[in-house]
Symmetry: C2
Subunit: 204 residues, 2 copies
């Protein structure tokens, strides 16, 4: 992935990709920047600027070639580079992530799921097997996984994070409402859904 893209630009490119995927499914070959802009309620010039970032975008006199722009977005965002991840916690959120088919198009590859509940062990969701959390260190080595998605209950978040760090996990995508204490070399991304909601509904 181009490493100089801002999160806002990445998010717009992902949204363009959603639009192009839907267009491809309905057999639409050509799209114009105003069409994309209108769907996202953003400025046409923004769309053109973003698509220019992609390089040679298959622009014709009437618009952009849907399949070509889609592939260029995938290339720029590094979708083709598979990232192996573990999902830790198999509550509803963990299962939602495991079952979310579209993630795999972005190179998000769930290798296994983990829980400490004996009733969950060996269950399979969307072809992802659940292992006891004690198996994580050995499987992290075996599968060369250094990214974990943390979806355990808040009260278990810190101890689980400690265990992940000991197990060789270097990137924690944290869905728990906890700020984790981790060593300086460990990267944590705090997923903060409520922030989006608060901004979105500030006029309500």
């Amino acid at each position: 992935m181009k490493t100089d893209l801002s999160l806002k630009t990445i998010n717009r490119l992902v949204q363009y990709h959603c639009i192009l995927t839907a267009m491809e499914e309905t057999g639409k070959d050509i799209v114009s920047s105003p069409q994309i802009a209108e769907l996202l309620k953003i400025d046409d010039s923004q769309v053109r600027k973003d698509l220019n970032l992609l390089g040679n975008t298959g622009k014709t006199k009437v618009g952009y070639e849907v399949s070509e722009v889609k592939l260029l977005i995938e290339k720029v965002l590094g979708f083709s580079k598979t990232k192996n991840v573990f999902v830790v916690g198999t509550g509803n959120l963990g299962l939602a992530i495991a079952k979310y088919e579209d993630f795999k198009y972005y190179g998000f590859n769930i290798m296994a799921m983990f829980d400490n509940d004996p009733l969950k062990i060996n269950l399979t969701y969307n072809d992802k097997q659940v292992f006891h959390i004690s198996k994580l260190p050995i499987l992290a080595k075996e599968y060369d996984v250094e990214i974990a998605v943390l979806t355990v209950p808040r009260k278990n978040a810190q101890e689980t994070a400690d265990f992940l760090v000991e197990s060789g996990i270097n990137f924690i995508w944290n869905f728990t409402p906890t700020i984790l204490r981790v060593p300086q070399n460990i990267k944590v991304c705090n997923e903060n859904l409520i922030g989006n909601f608060l901004q979105f509904t500030k006029d309500v």
Copy 2:
């Protein structure tokens, strides 16, 4: 809520709130800005700047009063103003949102859930009852709800959004990987988890 706050500022305030909540639970009365900054791996000056936004922050010679700063954040972010919402779709993601206890602290108040699966109707999750989607228009009026969280499968996303708009919903928090076509006066917030993941793991 102060309407001039950026999403980045809102997200940091929510994270401070997480930290203060945890501190309150462990009986910690006073916190310093470097303590917060260290946990979030951000600059101390940023924390001080944000806390200054809150107004009179109960700063003592040794730091800030935990409970007072927590309350000020709640006031600035409008947590006390309850926002009634419907959750549409009761798959794992819908249930994860319904069961996510911490949302309620932010004024996020789920009034009911909706699905079209007869097997789901009348089930209750975390005290939230599931109704058939056909009941949504009348319940939206009855409960004065204009915010819906959309977690249905991608293939049903647009038709469900159309139905929500007809039913008087003005704000759609869209968790489906679909860009929805809605009238100009309807606000849509596209939740884009994969964008965060792509940016977070760009160095992997």
